[in-house]
Amino acid sequence: MRVLLVEDDADMAESLRASLAADEHEVEIAGDGELGQSMAATGGYDVIVLDRMLPKKLGVSVVRELREQGVSTPVLILSALHDEDHRVEGLNAGANDYLGKPFSTRELLARVRALWNGRDRDVQTRLQVGDLEMDLLARTVKRGGKKLDLQPREFRLLEYLMRNSGQTVTRKMLLENVWDYHFDPQTNVIDVHISRLRSKIDRDFAQSLLHTVRGSGYRLEA
């Protein structure tokens, strides 16, 4: 997919470009906010990765103005300021995701893909991955036609995984989206939640759906 990277630090931009290119994205770079905004408005990109602190125009203003112009390309803001208030400010301006620096490359790649995948979600009332089915209205989950009994939290975890099926979701993405927690737990808390969920959806079936992606996170895939 085509990614616009708006970042003024040339070293950082080049390193991100290389990582995104290695993940099979076509990357173009803008070195300041104004250039970034005009490229974003006309370039037909799939995802925009935007630094918060930019010369000429701040990232938050760029997003706000793009949204006012009716540009709905998903935007990920990168920021060294990742306290709650800055995050909320960025999301309120119209950004779709907010990632605090420092971040791992894998985290960034996973989020860029998730943005692309999630661009027209929320209209679905049913989710399906292989023979796993989720009915969002009745709040039921079935696998191979057999009803699974999930706790509310497990349901939300599975819902997020299903919405992002086929791609890697990181522990941080799960924390932020399923629990709305914006700190790093020091223990393997997420792994245990995943393994409990896995025991419910995979244990009695030959084919595993919930995979661990070493070093990155998890992927739900048929």
Binding site: E84, P102, Y181, H182, F183, P185, T187, N188, V189, V192
Partner: protein
């Protein structure tokens, strides 16, 4: 600035001047009142009395003519009393009465008259007096004057007036004098506060404003100032020791980081070894970045007052935290249970509040041995505040060390081997202070040999 002039500019002195003004206004008001209550009343009474007498004499004239009138005037003038009479012919020549001549010739109509006169007292000494009454021409010409001697009351009201003016002048003088003294005293105490502030600015952080123990507003100000200075001193101390601690704590991971890269560079090229060295270097870099993030977050919590506070449902957040950590605790052979009263609300920042409690839970998970128990309890205390406690049956912390572990970068010897920068409890304490509460470390659950650790966040309840 000359001190004498400075004194005149003080608030207290201005208040004293205002007070002097009030005294003056009060005395003038009192004078007006006294005048109306004495002279004014007397004049009114005199007018009534003079009218009655005049009317009676008019009747006598109408019934008995000039002879009868003359007789009445002679009789009445001879009586003791404050009333004075004069009967004169139409041309003003006095026929009979208390005076040898009229004070003035009346016009055609009956009129009020207010006049001075001289009389002789019993010893024959001349006396000046004042009288008020009515004078007019009767039918066919004779002039009749009836008046009341105002003498004594006039003297009395003069005395009262003099006393009041004396009081007024004394009052104004005393107000100004007491204002000067009060402003001198007040500026002396304000100067003591100001000199404390100047000394502190000059670098003497130990200096404190004097508190007299009288519980007055200056003491309150001095106490508030001293509390501020205590906090300032603590912050200075903290930033000084934190600087040292950061330098010290960063040195070891940075050294390891450098050493690993150097060793990999110097060793013969070996892909597997190089990758392992890179992986380890990355881990070190991550732990350094985590430490920076923790320091920055702590600094932001301690120095930034602009967090967006809202009414948050603490019970809900705490139940979710128990749900979040319970599976991991169980996996690690520890029991985490929650006893959370419903409907506990606090004013706070959701993210910070959640992280603070999660730090406490993670600390408990880290320091409680396998098979241990951890309880997250939350309830409203009898004083109305909300207490959120994480108690464990781990090794605990000796009471002597409990204050120290809340300082940043402080890690007890027993914790040296486990990961962490020693910022967790500092952050919790800082978040508690931000929420106008506190973190209290105390005995936790019984661990067989003694007590584990109990960490209690005590926060004010939201309305």
């Amino acid at each position: 600035m000359r001190p004498s002039l400075a004194l005149l500019r003080t608030t207290t002195f201005r208040l004293a001047l205002a007070q002097a003004g009030v005294v003056l206004v009060f005395v003038v008001a009192l004078l007006v009142y006294v005048y109306f209550a004495t002279i004014g009343q007397l004049v009114a009474d005199s007018d009534v009395l003079a009218d009655q007498e005049y009317a009676a004499l008019e009747r006598a004239y109408a019934e008995g003519g000039i002879r009868r009138l003359n007789q009445e005037v002679v009789e009445r003038a001879a009586r003791q009393g404050p009333l004075l009479y004069v009967l004169a012919e139409g041309n003003g020549v006095v026929v009979t009465g208390d005076f040898q001549q009229l004070p003035s010739l009346p016009g055609e109509s009956v009129q009020r008259i207010d006049f001075g006169f001289e009389s002789t007292d019993a010893e024959g000494a001349a006396q000046r007096g004042r009288a008020r009454g009515k004078v007019g021409r009767l039918l066919n010409g004779p002039i009749l004057l009836v008046a009341r001697d105002l003498g004594d009351s006039e003297v009395m009201s003069g005395r009262i007036t003099r006393v009041l003016w004396t009081v007024a002048i004394l009052g104004v003088f005393l107000s100004i004098a007491s204002g000067l003294i009060a402003s001198w005293l007040a500026s002396r105490r304000a100067e003591a506060l100001a000199s404390t502030a100047r000394d502190v600015m000059a670098g003497d952080l130990k200096r404190r404003a004097p508190v007299r123990g009288e519980g007055d507003e200056f003491d309150a100000l001095a106490e508030a100032m001293n509390a501020m200075l205590d906090r300032l001193e603590r912050l200075m101390q903290v930033s000084r020791t934190a600087g040292d601690a950061i330098a010290h704590d960063l040195r070891s991971p940075l050294t390891r980081f450098r050493q690993k890269l150097e060793a990999a560079l110097e060793a013969p090229a070996d892909t597997a070894n190089d990758r392992e060295a890179l992986r380890k270097a990355l881990e070190e870099a991550d732990s350094l970045l985590d430490m920076f993030a923790a320091v920055l977050k702590l600094a932001r919590v301690e120095s930034n007052p602009n967090w967006r506070f809202e009414r948050i449902d603490a019970s809900d957040i705490l139940r979710e935290l128990v749900d979040f950590y319970e599976p991991a605790a169980e996996e690690q052979g520890r029991t985490l249970r929650g006893e959370i009263a419903p409907d506990l609300f606090v004013n706070g920042e959701t993210g910070l509040f959640t992280q603070a409690v999660s730090n406490l839970v993670e600390n408990a998970l880290k320091y409680t041995p396998e098979g241990g128990h951890i309880a997250l309890t939350a309830a409203r205390r009898s004083d109305g505040r909300i207490e959120i406690a994480v108690s464990d049956d781990g090794p605990g912390i000796a009471p002597a060390d409990r204050d120290r572990v809340q300082e940043r970068f402080v890690r007890l010897e027993s914790a040296r081997s486990s990961p962490g920068a020693g910022l967790g409890l500092s952050l919790v304490a800082a978040v508690a202070r931000l929420h106008r509460g506190g973190l209290h470390l105390r005995d936790g659950l019984d661990n067989g040999e003694g007590k584990g650790l109990g960490a209690a966040l005590v926060l004010p309840a939201a309305a």
